[in-house]
Assembly symmetry: D3
Homo-oligomer: 245 residues x 6
């Protein structure tokens, strides 16, 4: 499985320094049209950047005979998959929930978020809703969702499996994929591309940092962005002078 | 698992004689709000009734590195799950596909439909689209979908697993659930309820067949539908006279 | 109230002879942008034309404490408003249901349709769904809806009032408005405009019947549709010769 | 009618101390699936909590002959129902507007909000839009909507009745229901359940306040949330020590 | 411009013999994900196949100062672009209208359809609605739309330009692209690909005609569809025997 | 063309002092139902007011043969229309992009925004998405969109023309129309109405500033808003005393 491909901390570190626009552009150059989770936003505008491997959780619609008893949260196993997932996920991983884009009930709330934050989980993402959004937005834990809905999960969702391939916001997510995010949103990087996307994104980001100074100073786009030979030479000089992200 | 609960041919036979309105009413009386697949319609208006157990197939969004090679349909196993599913499903079963309600590419076309029809599969259902709708609508095979879309499956979908619990048109479907349909659409009956729903639905359908004759003759709803004691007695007499569905 | 304005059978007769395109054009000329019920279609393609005054029925979302008992259909009054409405509506009227554009449960089924058909009701319209669509499509009774959904009404709807102003498919409908429909759909005519819209629509329809013969014979649109003076003169001759709709 | 059931200030006070997640969970335990107004958010992130009884206002689509004259706001009665409603609503009540989920025109703006705030109204809610969102977000008055739209109400809405049962964001609201909200959104509590939901929610909230300290300190969910016997005993000791919300 | 690339009648003839599923598969093999017009359907189920080059017409939202006067249809030029387009389009071409996926008013009705049919236009397509759907469905003229809406075009649309690049049902359409359709829907083929797509689609269609006989006779998908070497050899023999589409 | 109508800086100055609610009300009085861009919001809540003439840019869906090469941004002309537009737009103008309401890829990002800001462009608006939302929200440049999406433009959009009439958020926008916005959103004013709308809006805004003091002090709506003769007289006195916006 792809999960056996090693992704180094250096790669994750580079990814954390790159914006989502840069990452999606690098993925697009490799033929990937849409790896950004459209419609999901962080609960807090102060959300910092993160990168980690995906730990997936899959929901299906709830049904009255299986999910209507709120007292079952002490159970282990198949009737309490969400609790099992929150305990199984490891430090540095990112929880990605397939809620079928349905925000009518919460995928999780502040108690589960707190548990994950204390375990060192990197972030939590649903294509549905979270509850307790105000409290979560005050935590140092990146949480992304489509909406803030208080209704309890079993009203519309059953957690049915973890660590399977899923869809999230219409993007395929395989366990072990590298998930990167910041205040602008979240990008899914196929695990086998993590290193090359990180390297090329870092270089692109650095170049755009330089080019931005030109555009901000009034340069025309033509010749500057993208750079012509003269501008590229200037960039190389700037970079050689030790400028970094 | 629920699949070990026996569902007799007699039960399936009763279910085939009942309309979707009757079945959903019986399910509602047991607390199930929505077991009808809203938004899905048969490709042919001449679709007859069917009942059989669910064989599930799960799609996630396709991705350029995994699904972009149309030549892989000779492969076996995880990279060709849809072909495996069509060969694995058995006579009398109903294929239910979770296409995440996305009609932008076809879940299947007439070739796979023909294969299943010839195997004795009872019906095929997707909450996305089928292609070759005109040809399929001429086949003696019930096929339900949200739309008729020609685009090939890997444009938007990857078949990732079979016989897992899924959602279809926002309704939970577990392998082995009993799926019943006719020209009006499809209802999902939790397997453990199949017998009691069949028995009570048959009785309700019979009673309404009688009550219809009264309403059709000009009776007021009050006293007739639902019936008062006098009307009920008339019904019992009518039924004792050997009238059936 | 507007209901006191008389609308003659002659006016209704003219309206039944006019297409929805003509009626909406005449309403547009009077400043009414959208009086057509977008998204609603007849259950049968063979639906003939009808015209009658609106009898309105208003639904709100159902709630578990009020609508979860299917046994209450023998009750009279506020807990069984739909049954009361079907009995209260009179021959020649048109039932218009505000289902909040929500097709997840049926607004009514074939039993209530049959009752209304036998009473001489002109048509039934919902901006949600009907159940038993196949049976209803075989009846000589125009029925319009957004979808065909089997689930029983109280799953999502409570009938809460009759003969109030409502919205239907985003169009205002006041009790007594004139509702006209055919196989192409339904138009709502404010009651006070019924006569003038009928008269002008009849004239427009007659003129277009003539102009169609010209276009069908190969005439350019310019000069013909709309007609110039020469073509108008031809029309007047044609009309004077006794041609009618 | 339910409005005759007394709801004490103590009950309202307890409700104000409870989060929406707790309230919806208590309602779910009583069989109510969705009483949260999905998709509506407060105009200000600093919105405090409130609780009060619903005063309802119902909109239908506007029509060119009735709503196109902006000069009619001096009128009394049926042609100016919104003004009448703002004057009729009393201190402590909550205005709930059924805008048919349509945000294309404003349900109200800062002038009406100011009038209600000065009268002591507790909050205003629409499932459509408000205008003047920036000004309203600076007022000490909770206002919830789906969007901020400047267009004047009669462009799409006519206020047609007050104090009728309505739908708001797909939830039934009866006059007199208890409406509770905070920065996370709004929950509708059927009036006859207000006291028991308040009592049980208060107790749940208190228990979760305690349990949070355990989870925040690194405890596993299993044994803690929900609590086992040992944890419950700890909670009782903590509570007996006088800890409150 | 691409319009200068010749597309022969032989190519068009081949395209007319191929199903949309074949055409979209051939386009997908060349990297085109979605060239099918999702959500558009023919007004008549008896619609035959057609192929021709695109003549485009672009709508924007109407505005009260420009489009509210229905009397301007005698004008020439920029205030009557739709009439100009219907007169400018030539025999064999296909009218493709960008209605911004908005079905709230008709893109055209039976009079314009009749004019185009008599001129020899191959088909008319809108991603909005047509009016007079019942009449059009009886004409020998393929017409595709999202809905059947009577309301007159200026209620929501202004025809602003012809023969510009447009979007239709979220697919790019350039003047001169080859448009192919049948009862299953419509596919857009970039003009420069018309010949190779026609040739390869014809060959694929022929092969599938043969393979269908095998699947229909009970063959497993594996080995047959797609064919293995033995099956391919059988096909070549069958083809050499003179079998054609 | 309308662009030849002069719009003075005094007119623009008045427009900047008026809220969107006032502007849309004045337009509604002239028969314009919806000139507000529903669903678009500024990236920064601190966005100040602006007014300027529209410079339009039109997108269609991208296609793999034309838009899949990110290296073409050095080109001039038809294959790089967006870059041309950013260089062609002049100080004081407002960029309005028709993205077909599709937020799946970014209409532009911070580099183009910076270029425009430095050129003195007044604002940028798309009915799709921007990328780099966090950075843009920190710039002194009003930017309005439906969402914040990182994916690069050619994934879904091709810039195909500038300075044509377009739709933006379902509102017609002609080059030269006057665009006004603030933290509440954006209104489109047909150019020929700019002066009269500015004058009447300024007067309305001033009157409402006065009336607000009455309502804020506890006055009833009736008699105050709208004002009766006595209140109007008070206003005139207040205005005569030199009070201004």
């Amino acid at each position: 499985m792809g999960e056996t491909i090693d992704v180094s901390e250096e790669t994750l570190g580079k990814l954390r320094k790159c914006g989502q626009g840069t990452l999606t552009t690098q993925l697009f150059k490799r033929g990937y049209r849409q790896q950004f989770l459209v419609g999901l936003a962080p609960l807090s505008k102060d959300t910092g950047s993160f990168a980690g491997e995906a730990f997936t959780l899959r929901f299906i619609p709830s049904r009255e005979d299986k999910d209507w008893d709120l007292g079952d949260l002490r159970k282990r196993g198949e009737d309490n998959v969400q609790w099992e997932a929150v305990e199984a996920i490891q430090a540095g991983q990112v929880l990605v929930i397939d809620s079928r884009n349905d925000p009518r009930a919460a995928s999780a709330g502040n108690m589960l978020m707190t548990r994950m934050m204390r375990k060192g989980v990197a972030a939590a993402i649903t294509d549905g809703a979270f509850r307790d959004g105000t409290e979560i937005s005050g935590m140092a834990f990146p949480a992304y969702c489509r909406a803030n809905t208080a209704s309890t999960r079993p009203a519309y969702h059953r957690a049915v499996a973890m660590q399977q391939p899923i869809g999230c916001a219409d993007v395929a997510v395989y366990p072990g994929d590298i998930i990167v995010g910041d205040a602008d949103g979240v990008t899914v990087i196929p695990r086998h591309l993590a290193k090359e996307v990180a390297d090329d994104s870092y270089e692109q980001e650095l170049r755009e940092k330089f080019l931005f100074t030109k555009v901000d100073a009034g340069a025309s786009l033509f010749g500057t962005y993208p750079p012509d030979a003269a501008t590229l030479a200037e960039f190389e000089t700037w970079k050689a002078a030790g400028n970094t992200l």
